[in-house]
């Protein structure tokens, strides 16, 4: 007998989300991921001066704001055909990485770990620790990480004036500069963040976490101290205790647009798609509207225009369904790191796809990798040299800005005619991960990850914790998804 389970409002994700499950014999036989809000940001940009995108596009989101600015500036930069000076590149990288780190902390300590403090798990030995450490709005260790997150944002305060939403991120570099004193303050913020991560999160030097390259090395690190010694060990303990690596398998191929280019163009995390990674076949990218409340055939983002239709038959989401060569792709820290060649994540059987465990673990590993890179960028700043170069825009041009938000691949596509924007399309990371079915009926990555999940007979939405772990492991941003 089929039963329906509708989960909403879905808490501790960014923005509005509803998940509808059809259960047959206590197993999910169909999952529908619903974005119940339409925002219409792209039309707001049409007809405006091109640089207005720098003000409007980041306001798509209160959590991926810097990434949206980076993508908009990159698209305009391509249209202007210039390269920022080295200082500007370092500053842009620092801003993006700071937001990425802050988002990873928010995800781990505000969105994901509080689920293990729920009453549902009270019979487990580790539950008391989880409650004291991570209970929503009360956990002591989460509170400490919210303070550390605020400290990370000081870097954005200093280099961009404020978070979220800053115009300091420009095609030509940054409007802000750093003198010899403020360079020291940047490094001092990074020292605080390194200390916080090393003391509370990893109980080890970040370089030791970066060097974990095999499952054996990870097991040895895990066994070296009690689960309660640090957040990462406790998470690894949860993975074992609850078999999180067997939960929420997603086999969609990974996609990363790459991020953090050096002045010589080399990226800290290179771009790619699939197993093994190849260069991205951007020409095969389409946005499918098969199950979206929008009219029109699948179209590439440089041609598509939004025609909302809330009465469309068989549609169930305001999200579009982006596809590469007709296929859904998963994106996020796990995809970014396996494409960048992280040895541990690759050694864990990456060709079989991701799980709740690997998607969340990739965020911890990425935090350990980002701080040393940020320290290098901050040290590379030359206080008396320029952070910005003039970037005059031609009256007619096109531009693509591809980058990585914390939660995955982010792209902006724009066209300029007679000094006005005539096209603007954004494809956000969660649009990939939480896409509805396409016109061929192929479900999106989250819908696939929920398929086949077994749930207890008496399950209620609030007690469907496995569903919540799977959904939150993607770190969705619904606000961006339905811009």
């Amino acid at each position: 007998m089929s039963t329906r389970l509708v989960i909403g409002p879905f808490n501790r994700v960014e923005g509005d989300l509803e998940v509808r499950l059809t259960l047959d014999n206590q197993q999910v036989s169909r999952a529908e991921v619903v974005s119940p809000l339409y925002r219409g940001f792209e039309q707001i940009l049409l007809g405006r001066a091109p640089l207005d995108a720098l003000t409007i596009a980041p306001r798509v989101c209160g959590i991926c704001s810097v990434s949206q600015s980076i993508a908009a500036a990159a698209a305009l930069r391509q249209a202007a055909d210039i390269t920022p000076p080295a200082n500007g590149i370092h500053a842009l990288n620092l801003l993006q990485a700071a937001e990425n780190l802050a988002d990873h902390l928010t995800h781990s300590f505000v969105f994901f770990l509080p689920d293990f403090a729920q009453d549902f798990y009270r019979s487990h030995r580790w539950h008391d620790f989880a409650v004291a450490a991570y209970k929503a709005n009360q956990g002591r260790r989460s509170a400490a990480m919210i303070r550390l997150r605020a400290r990370i944002l000081h870097l954005i305060g200093q280099l961009a004036g404020k978070w979220p939403h800053s115009l300091a991120i420009q095609p030509g570099g940054t409007t802000s500069t750093a003198d010899t004193g403020s360079k020291v303050r940047l490094l001092s913020i990074l020292s605080d963040v390194r200390r916080g991560l090393e003391e509370q999160v990893f109980s080890a030097p970040l370089e030791q976490i970066q060097a974990l390259s095999t499952p054996d090395a990870l097991a040895a690190y895990q066994a070296a101290d009690a689960p309660e010694s640090c957040d990462f060990r406790f998470f690894l303990h949860l993975c074992t205790a609850l078999n999180l690596s067997g939960l929420g398998a997603c086999t969609a191929p990974p996609l990363s647009f790459g991020a953090y280019a050096d002045p010589d163009g080399t990226r800290l995390f290179p771009a790619g798609q699939g197993f093994p990674p190849t260069s991205i076949a951007l020409f095969s990218l389409t946005e499918d509207l098969g199950s979206s409340w929008m009219d029109g055939p699948p179209q590439p983002p440089w041609e598509s225009h939004n025609r909302p239709n809330p009465h469309k038959d068989n549609a169930y989401s305001w999200s579009k369904a982006p596809r590469l060569a007709g296929k859904p792709h998963q994106t996020g820290a796990w995809a970014r790191q396996v494409i960048a060649g992280h040895p541990l994540l690759r050694a864990q059987g990456w060709s079989q796809g991701s799980s709740v465990a690997s998607r969340v673990m990739a965020r911890f590993l990425e935090m350990a990798a980002l701080i040393p890179a940020m320290e290098q960028w901050a040290r590379a700043i030359r206080p008396h040299q320029a952070f910005y170069t003039d970037a005059p825009l031609p009256s007619d041009a096109v531009g693509i800005g591809l980058t990585e938000a914390a939660r995955g691949a982010l792209g902006h596509w724009l066209a300029i005619r007679q000094n006005r924007l005539t096209q603007y399309q954004i494809i956000a990371p969660t649009t990939w991960n939480f896409s509805p079915r396409d016109q061929a009926g192929v479900p999106g990555p989250l819908e696939q990850a929920l398929h086949g999940l077994a749930l207890p007979a008496d399950v209620t939405p609030s007690r469907a914790l496995a569903v919540q772990h799977i959904v939150r492991s993607f770190d969705p941003c619904m606000a961006c998804t339905v811009h």
Partner: protein, 319 residues
């Protein structure tokens, strides 16, 4: 999410400090699905008191006034309907951010989405979701904690002031904005103040001069103590070299000129300081421009300070 950085310790910790019990927040609370819906039922049936209702985001009246383009997940009810119902049972209603206050950026496309504010549409009270005459049981209008994003301190201090019983009608300005931040202009405390005084203007966005004359800065017209209290450990838009876009003001989403350009008529900026007579402004600007020290003039168009402050060398007395 701005509030998660409030006072560097987060919204939940601050609410706790002031005895406020956070009933539900979509990004922070534990409950999902049925437990949250049961809480909403209890509030609407007045079994659970609701002291402060905070609404974030523009209210979406589309499609055709139905609110169908924004349904509350799990309930199917248009969010505008839920907002109306909750506003009727709350002791105070607070709009968090310029979207919820005035419509904000989404209101630039209100023709398609019906995006509007809770009490205002742009500067028109009563043209948003709630009628002009709406007030809470204590007589207060919707309290508008404006900004895009609002400063985390504006949010936490407004909520804490309500808990302390300190926020009365006289503490709100004409747009329902708490005066503790709205009595200031974003210009106050701007680190580029000397450039402003001498009308030593930046010509391009990365230069150190005043951003008002050429680069669209509206800090002398926009309320907010941004540069006085500062953001994220010590920043502000203008101090980072970016023009104020007046995000605390109704209608900021549709400026006369592009955001990074100053609208001018016959070479004179259209948007002069909020309460300064135009003739005086022009006279003083001309005077101060003629008195600008070379240091200020040159630094205004440089990306770093090139001339440090120093007295000119003393003239030697020749006998």
């Amino acid at each position: 999410m701005a509030a998660l950085g409030a006072e560097d310790k987060g919204l939940a910790a601050i609410l706790d400090d002031f005895g406020l019990d956070l009933l539900w927040h979509p990004g922070l609370s534990e409950s999902t699905g049925d437990t949250c819906l049961a809480l909403l039922d209890a509030i609407l049936a007045r079994r659970q008191p609701l002291d402060i209702l905070c609404i974030e985001g523009a209210l979406m009246m589309g499609h055709d006034g139905s609110g169908a383009i924004h349904r509350f997940a799990g309930l199917g009810l248009p969010v505008i309907e839920l907002a109306r119902q909750l506003s009727a049972v709350a002791r105070h209603v607070v709009a968090i951010g310029s979207c919820a206050a005035f419509g904000g950026i989404p209101a630039a496309n209100s023709a398609s989405t019906g995006a509007t504010g809770l009490h205002y549409h742009g500067s028109h009270r009563g043209a948003g979701l709630l009628p002009s005459s709406w007030h809470d049981p204590s007589g207060l209008p919707v309290i508008n904690v404006v900004g895009c994003a609002p400063h985390p301190g504006w949010i936490s201090e407004t909520l804490a002031s309500l808990a302390l019983g300190d926020l009365g009608r006289q503490d709100l300005d004409d747009f329902g904005r708490p005066r503790f931040f709205a009595d200031h202009l974003a210009h106050h405390g701007c680190g580029r103040n000397e450039f402003y005084e001498f009308k030593a203007s930046a010509q391009a966005i990365h230069q150190r001069g005043c951003l008002m004359e050429n680069l669209g800065c509206k800090a002398t017209q926009a309320v907010g103590d941004c540069s006085l209290r500062q953001w994220n450990g010590g920043g502000s838009c203008t101090n980072a070299g970016t023009p104020c876009i007046a995000c605390t003001m109704p209608g900021f989403e549709d400026p006369v000129a592009p955001f990074q350009e100053t609208a001018k008529v016959a070479g004179i900026p259209v948007g002069l300081p909020v309460d300064m007579p135009k003739a005086w402004f022009l006279a003083l600007a001309a005077l101060s421009k003629s008195a600008t020290p070379e240091r200020v003039r040159q630094n205004a168009t440089s990306h770093h300070i090139t001339i440090p402050p120093a007295r000119p060398p003393a003239r030697r007395h020749e006998d």
